[in-house]
């Protein structure tokens, strides 16, 4: 039976080849869109590691870029420290901190370190000691920064669990040096480990993260570019005006832009999901087009085979048998197309083309695309095969 099916498919290889190509390309399209969607879904289910509700971010524009601060930096840092103090003095404010990056926001700093001969990619951010409280970070080992830490002779850092596992394996990370200090650099040493910190938000995968302490006094001090302010639940939006007026009074030369993290989060969702929605809409239309095309082509093919089918019926094949034959033939064609597509797609992990894609997401994308293609193919064969099964033997044999 199987050999017979393949023979039937082979006999019409030219028209089937085109159909196989079409199914293969559709498979690739479905796989691409589905994998992107599943990638987001998978990331969404992982813990975020911080609390964004009731946190406001403040972009601090000090009117110049970092390279040009020069000798004025310590004075600017002192203004920054005063800002933090003023903000904390409000009753509506629970915690406040300075930070180089805003959660959910694009951009940030990435560095690579060689530790014990291993290259480690790390996203990092300079923060002030209030950061853990403002963002609700969870410590899993060691401790968070204190104000006094900026007086240490080495640079204290706090890393997240993933980074600790990657660098120190199952051993304890607290107290260990982080890489070797280069000339003019101070030794970095881990003082604590937090559970997670997914800076880019729920839709992006969990990466390595490192917090670097930034003190606001001493000759090395520089102001940071953002503030994070945790306000009491139920603080009215009007408080923003009060806050901005106070900050403008402290630093008249600077500009401030307040955005609740909920808003930053919504923007980031837009950023990541819009391409997915556009691609999803366009490919649904493409699939509809392919589906209709398949119906037409199958219909025409079967019309061409009226005599063959009539003969089968005359020789005693039942309607169900004809029906089944057509469906099985299409199953073979679809499988060939899907197989071809899958062979192409498997190159992605084999050649390690996309590093962030986990095997689980990849496999679910593959399965999703397969199921979709079989489903479309099956639905599109139903009507033409019903027509074929209706062929009357006598009529068909007369057909010219």
């Amino acid at each position: 039976m199987t050999r017979h099916l393949f023979k039937l498919v082979w006999n019409r290889k030219r028209s089937n080849a085109l159909m196989i190509l079409e199914i293969c390309v559709s498979f690739l399209v479905v796989f691409g869109v589905a994998t992107l969607g599943l990638f987001f879904l998978d990331n969404y289910q992982q813990p975020l590691g911080f609390e964004w509700k009731n946190v406001w971010s403040v972009r601090v524009d000090i009117g110049q870029s970092g390279a040009n601060l020069g000798g004025g930096a310590p004075e600017q840092a002192a203004i920054f420290a005063r800002l933090l103090k003023e903000i904390r003095s409000f009753g509506a404010v629970e915690a406040a901190a300075g930070t180089a990056v805003i959660p959910f926001d694009q951009g940030g700093m990435t560095g690579s370190w060689t530790i014990d001969g291993k290259d480690v990619q790390v996203d990092f951010a300079e923060v002030t000691p209030g950061f853990a409280e403002a963002m609700g970070l969870k410590m899993v080992a060691g401790r968070w920064f204190q104000e006094a830490d900026s007086a240490l002779s080495w640079d204290p850092i706090v890393i997240d669990r993933d980074l600790a596992r990657e660098v120190y394996g199952s051993g304890d990370a607290v107290g260990k040096p982080f890489g070797k200090a280069e000339a003019k650099e101070r030794q970095r040493r881990v003082i604590g480990v937090v559970s997670d910190f997914r800076k880019t938000g729920e839709l992006m995968p969990n990466g390595n993260f490192m917090f670097v302490l930034k003190g606001m006094d001493g000759p090395e001090a520089r102001p940071l570019r953002n503030l994070l302010v945790r306000v009491r639940p139920g603080t009215p939006a009007e408080f923003e005006e009060t806050l901005v007026k106070r900050m403008q009074a402290v630093a008249p030369e600077w500009s401030f832009e307040v955005r609740p993290l909920s808003q930053v989060r919504a923007t980031s969702y837009h950023f990541f999901l819009t391409p997915l929605i556009v691609a999803g809409t366009v490919s649904s239309f493409l699939l509809l087009m392919v589906g209709l095309g398949l119906i037409g082509v199958l219909w025409q093919n079967l019309l061409q085979r009226t005599r063959e089918i009539g003969l089968r019926r005359a020789a005693g094949a039942s309607r169900t048998a004809v029906h089944r034959l057509v469906l099985l033939e299409q199953l073979v064609v679809t499988s060939l197309g899907v197989l071809l597509g899958a062979l192409l797609v498997v190159q992605i992990p084999v050649l390690d083309l996309i590093g962030v894609l986990s095997n689980r997401v990849f496999a679910s994308g593959l399965v999703f695309a397969m199921v979709t293609m079989y489903l479309i193919s099956f639905v599109c064969t139903l009507y033409p095969s019903t027509l074929a099964a209706r062929v009357q033997p006598a009529e068909a044999l007369r057909y010219e």
Binding site: E22, Q64, A67, A237, V244, P252, E257, M289, G296, Q300
Partner: protein
Amino acid sequence: MIRNYLKVALKVLGRRKFFTFISLFGISVTLLVLLLATALLDHVFAAQTPEIHANRMLGIYRLTMKGPENIQNSQPGYAFLDRFVRPMTKLPSVERIALVTEAQDVVSFLNGRKIQSLMRRADGDLWRVLSFDFVEGGPFTVADNENGRMVAVISETTRERFFDGRPAVGKTIEVDGQRFRVAGVVRDVPILRYSSSADLWVPITTAKSSAYKQEWLGHFTALILARSHADLPQIKAEFQSILRGAEKQLPDPKTFKFLVAGADTLFEGAARMFLPGEAVVNPGGRLRAVLLALMIGFMLLPTINLVNINLSRILDRASEIGVRRAFGASSRTLVGQFLVENLVLTLIGAAIGLVLTAFVLHAFNASGLIEHASLQLNFRIFLYGLAIAAFFGIFSGVYPAWRMSKLHPVRALRGRSI
């Protein structure tokens, strides 16, 4: 002859309605997507208010400073543009140069309500390089900028937000803790016009701190208006030689030794921003290649689909083709006829696609997904649409036509498959 082809084509289309429907559906949806993309690109890059002189305008949008270990890439700063680009005004081919910052979010509070606006700081020449539609008042001047006068030009939306749409010239507007007198009101500029969109414009010198004057990298853009389109290559070359000279005066020669930038058209400027890495050499060409590749990649599936359907359609007409060949029609005639038929089909699909596009664009503009966007069908896009449709028609017609011409008359007359 062609008239005959057309007649046959229409007859054939009418005969197998289901096939015609499938083909038209595929073609019109494909063209709909391509036309929407074209309309979007046209909206961003074409010459229209305020960039009505886009074809003779260049911008310096990005500056990269490179050293042995460091690389920094951002918009150019005021110091760099003022020292090295502004003097280009003396070139006979340059009409005018304007410096303007990128649009930055600024906040105002009005009766306890928060208003967020995009603000640019600009010199007085901006108003003569770009041509805004003033609905009220006029621009601020070069002298306003030199003397640091607190004046502003606002958009219609800003006037709506601050003054409920009532005349605003002469009134005061408070933004980011600074107070400005409104000098003029312009029509809204769509947010995607990246070199000109904003909600309000104020003089550069009103900046709270004057630190920007020392910056090589910062938030500025220089817009260069040439006397004619033909002058652009010369200005580009001139800018590169100026860049070489500027490298010798870099403030921190140990850290940074080289400068990478270009005087770009709108399209090249966007290419420089979006393409990964340093699209230093011919960024416009690269972006064009990327867009073409995307277009062909997208058209792949619809084309296979259409080829497939076309082949089935030919099978249907095998006996007709057999008769024509038996009576001496050459392969070439048949191929020609089939291509004409396919083109007719594609053009009908294109017409439907165009109508669909008009509807979708209308809905899109009304949805406000992109602020102040007014994507429109215009003659340019219509021409693009025709070109895309013709390309698609030929692309998808060639293989079936070739198969058709190979059809053996005897076998075809027997009505058997190809």
